[in-house]
């Protein structure tokens, strides 16, 4: 059955792609559907065209909300924005549903045609795990299997004809008892760590960070699908680098210069001290606007990458986010020096539209 609305939809898509009505192209917004998984918000891109109206600037306006929290507490990033637009249809009643992240990762994988990741070191990294798989007639009392014991006793009662359905009393004896047993199974450990590094110098604004936030969410989701124990670490840097928690990572803004080597140095230290490549799959992601302090520092970065980071990691990704001040030189320098490396992915991210292409660049190799 073809619905009349499909024509309107096709027309809308053409506008978004810029095929028709070029005058509307500038109103195309990279909107997002926001869903919730536990505490995390996930976003799915839905472009929209917002026709201009006389309306209030939102940041000045603020609003009223409901819930816990003291004055000065932040609202989570997904909130506050958007909102405010009253739907015209009465009682359009949207229900929020939790999304299984696994499914999302599948959808993403399908859409971007990402290959499956083969965790390395499957044969090297082996741990044994106990799995309770069997039943035995002897064992410690703490492992007694109540149901199976009961069944066994019932079976015996019936077999011996002592079961009275009017007085259904079942008394297990010593021989009825059943216990759980376990097997030692060798399990390949597939631990992975993602080390996010971000430039927080003055030139990285809100929009740039939003791009990094969305991108890192998808990277997390994808990698988490392939690795059981995924850890994430966060490093911010301007002229010096430090490790921070997730929240600080996305909300810090410093002024001052940019010394990318400081972050790489810290990343190297982290890998050396905690994430040895024999036990971990390591994924460093670095985001910056590409303006490094000096050519000397860039040389130092390449040096650290070559000697320490690249040999230790599965994949090193660098994403250069375009800022209002343009895009810097760093990505070119990397391309020339280490760009040919098998485990290096470089990507330029002009705007939110480019996020998905960039994820494909990063994860499309499936190392």
């Amino acid at each position: 059955m073809s619905l009349r609305i499909k024509q309107d939809q096709a027309r809308f898509r053409d506008i978004v792609r810029g095929r028709i009505k070029a005058n509307l192209k500038k109103y195309v917004q990279k909107g997002e559907l926001i869903g919730k998984k536990g505490k995390d918000f996930i976003t799915i891109p839905v472009p929209s065209v917002d026709l201009p109206h006389f309306r209030f600037g939102q940041r000045q306006q603020g609003g009223v909300g409901q819930g816990e929290g003291a004055a000065g507490d932040p609202l989570s990033p997904a909130e506050g924005e958007g909102g405010g637009k009253a739907g015209e249809g009465e009682g359009q009643h949207l229900l929020e549903v939790d999304v299984p992240l696994d499914e999302l990762a599948d959808i993403l994988g399908e859409e971007l045609q990402l290959p499956r990741i083969e965790p390395r070191g499957k044969d090297r990294i082996v741990a044994t795990r106990s799995r309770y798989t069997g039943i035995a007639s002897s064992g410690p009392e703490s492992l007694r299997h109540f149901k199976r014991t009961y069944k066994q006793a019932l079976r015996r009662h019936i077999a011996t004809g002592s079961y009275d359905h009017l007085r259904p009393m079942v008394v297990p004896v010593r021989e009825d008892r059943r216990y759980r047993t376990w097997k030692e199974v060798p399990l390949p450990e597939t631990n992975a760590v993602v080390i996010y590094m971000m430039d927080v110098s003055g030139s990285m604004g809100d929009d740039q960070k939003e791009i990094v936030r969305i991108e890192s969410f998808w990277i997390d989701t994808w990698l988490r699908k392939h690795y059981k124990g995924l850890e994430t670490r966060y490093i911010i840097h301007d002229a010096v680098a430090r490790e921070v928690d997730r929240d600080t990572f996305f909300h810090t803004r410093e002024s001052g210069g940019t010394m990318i080597s400081s972050a790489y140095e810290l990343c190297k230290t982290l890998i050396d001290s905690e994430y040895g490549p024999s036990a971990w799959n390591v994924y460093p992601f670095h985001f910056s606007d590409g303006d490094n302090w000096s050519a000397d520092d860039t040389r130092l970065c390449v040096e650290i990458l070559r000697s320490s980071i690249l040999p230790a990691v599965n994949l090193f990704c660098y994403g250069q986010v375009e800022s209002p001040y343009g895009s810097g030189q760093f990505i070119k320098d990397l391309k020339e020096s280490v760009g040919g490396g098998e485990n290096v992915a470089l990507s330029e991210i002009a705007d939110k539209d480019a996020i998905y292409a960039s994820i494909k660049t990063f994860l499309g190799r499936g190392p």
């Binding site: 619905l3 009349r4 609305i5 024509q7 309107d8 939809q9 027309r11 809308f12 898509r13 009505k21 909107g31 559907l33 869903g35 799915i44 839905v46 929209s48 065209v49 026709l51 201009p52 109206h53 006389f54 309306r55 209030f56 600037g57 939102q58 940041r59 000045q60 306006q61 603020g62 609003g63 009223v64 909300g65 409901q66 819930g67 816990e68 929290g69 004055a71 507490d73 932040p74 609202l75 989570s76 990033p77 909130e79 506050g80 924005e81 405010g84 009253a86 015209e88 249809g89 009465e90 009682g91 359009q92 009643h93 949207l94 229900l95 929020e96 549903v97 999304v99 959808i107 809100d206």
Partner: protein
């Protein structure tokens, strides 16, 4: 969409009959309501059209459809229920919903339809909107056949950019009396008080009085010649009457204006209306309609509806809590002078006069209030604290949205500010012949929040294509009064002229 079928499948027919009976027993008074069961694709389409499957073609409905379908495919959201204000009322049920959901939705829908029928804001809406929308659809399609889809759609885009420039109060208040007949009878030269006695004349009309009188007269005549006579909020109406539009353009602008007025009351009673429907679905379900096996699913979905997120006010939640609060207060007699003047916290907390007036009161309120007056009158300090309301704003320094405060007066003030004029800036046409050059002068009644600047410029541009002569908007930017002007070629922004 498939042919209209008003026959519900058997089990739904029974559910509907029961729920309708319960609703009537509680005193709800609604139009005949026709339920239709649709698949998700169809319900998404109908929802994208704002409830009217026969609307005119336009890409923005496709955009809405895409958003809804994507939300559904990714499992983020689904449309539960959709009801339109019409007589008979139409409500759409999603076929994949469980029976307990359908029950809930029906109870909810009867709440909405009762509200549509009885609330004063809806009194002037067209109850045959289903037909009117179809009619609009036909007209737009005919224009498109004659002139080309592109051309007509471009014009619709421009009109939509102006669609909020209507007078949100006008269906209820007559703004200006017809003055044309009065004009003939008015004096044009000040005569002063009449007297037959010559010696009294200078006493009754002292020097200066006549001159002053003459001046006021001239001023009021100048005003009468001005178009519009006094600032006009219904900018679209003004354009329909005075802009040099072609016939088809006139027709389309009229359609946009009609539909804008039709949808406006729904936006202006969102909190009351959703709250009311929620109040009734929960009352009907928990007291009458639920069976034991349905309770868990019901509770799950009901709480999903009422979930709140810190940065977003959920109209269902705020609304239903207010209705319950009012009912409780009028049941216990917590109103009036004596209660208001009682200072003892303890006494207020235990206050119960056992009046039992709650139900009666809420039925009365649902007739005579809209969101603004509802919040203004019934949002109390206690309620604000209980419901943990707060204001939030953007902190430039931290670059994030933050909770600002929980002060009752501030919260209420902010809430009212957001709701006033449907949350839209108040913009009026002040002069259709500005500077005697046929320019259109608009002004924005600035109340502390600036307009979004780039949008304002682009909207002005759209307005100019309708007016054809230069257009000017008086507003404020960062505390300074400015005139934004667009003359068809370029934008200028200068300090305000008087």
């Amino acid at each position: 969409m498939s042919a209209k079928s008003t026959d519900l499948p058997g089990h739904l027919y029974d559910i509907r009959r029961d729920v309708e009976r319960y609703a009537r027993e509680y005193g709800l008074d609604f139009y005949e309501t026709i339920f239709e069961v649709l698949g998700f694709d169809e319900i998404n389409m109908v929802a994208a059209y704002g409830g009217f499957p026969t609307r005119y073609p336009h890409w923005r409905f496709g955009m809405e459809y895409e958003r809804l379908s994507k939300g559904y495919e990714y499992g983020l959201s689904k449309i539960y229920e959709l009801v339109i204000n019409n007589d008979p009322s139409y409500a759409y049920l999603l076929s994949s919903n469980m029976d307990v959901d359908q029950k809930l939705v029906m109870a909810h829908v009867f709440g909405h339809v009762d509200f549509f029928k009885n609330n004063f804001m809806f009194r002037h809406t067209d109850r045959k909107m289903m037909d009117r929308m179809a009619n609009h659809g036909t007209r737009v399609r005919r224009h498109q056949d004659e002139l080309g889809a592109e051309k007509v759609e471009d014009f619709i885009d421009r009109c939509l950019s102006l669609e909020n420039l209507i007078d949100y109060q006008s269906p209820y208040v007559r703004r200006h009396a017809d003055t044309r007949t009065r004009a003939d009878q008015e004096e044009t030269v000040a005569k002063g008080f009449k007297t037959d006695r010559e010696y009294m004349r200078s006493y009754l009309n002292p020097p200066g009085y006549l001159e002053g009188r003459q001046k006021t007269l001239e001023e009021s005549q100048a005003k009468a010649k001005k178009v519009p006579e006094s600032p006009e909020r219904d900018v679209l109406q003004f354009l329909l009457e005075h802009a040099p539009l072609e016939r088809w353009e006139h027709d389309i602008l009229g359609i946009i204006r009609d539909e804008s007025y039709y949808f406006a009351p729904q936006g202006q009673t969102k909190i009351m209306n959703e709250g009311w429907a929620t109040y009734w679905h929960s009352t009907i379900m928990t007291q009458k309609a639920l069976t034991a096996s349905e309770i868990v699913d019901y509770a799950d979905h009901h709480s999903g509806t009422l979930a709140t997120r810190p940065g977003q006010l959920n109209p269902y939640k705020l609304g239903v809590e207010l209705w319950r609060d009012i009912e409780d207060r009028w049941n216990k007699g917590r109103f009036g002078k004596e209660y208001d003047e009682c200072d003892s916290f303890e006494e207020r907390r235990r206050w119960d006069r056992r009046l039992g007036l709650g139900r009666e009161k809420i039925f009365e309120i649902r007739k005579h209030y809209n969101d603004v007056t509802f919040i203004d009158e019934f949002l109390t300090l206690e309620f604000c604290v209980d419901q943990k309301l707060f204001t939030f704003g953007y902190n430039e320094k931290h670059q994030r949205w933050e909770i600002l405060q929980r002060d009752f007066r501030k919260v209420k003030e902010k809430l009212l500010q957001m709701l006033t004029n449907f949350g839209q800036p108040i913009i009026t046409v002040d002069d259709g012949n500005h500077d005697n050059r046929g320019e259109l002068l608009l002004s924005h009644a600035h109340d502390g929040v600036d307009l979004k600047a780039d949008y304002a410029r682009d909207t002005l541009r759209n307005l100019q294509t309708l007016w054809r002569r230069p257009v000017i908007l008086k507003t404020e930017v960062e505390g300074r009064k400015v005139d934004l002007r667009f003359d068809g070629r370029e934008h200028t922004q200068g300090p305000a002229k008087k």
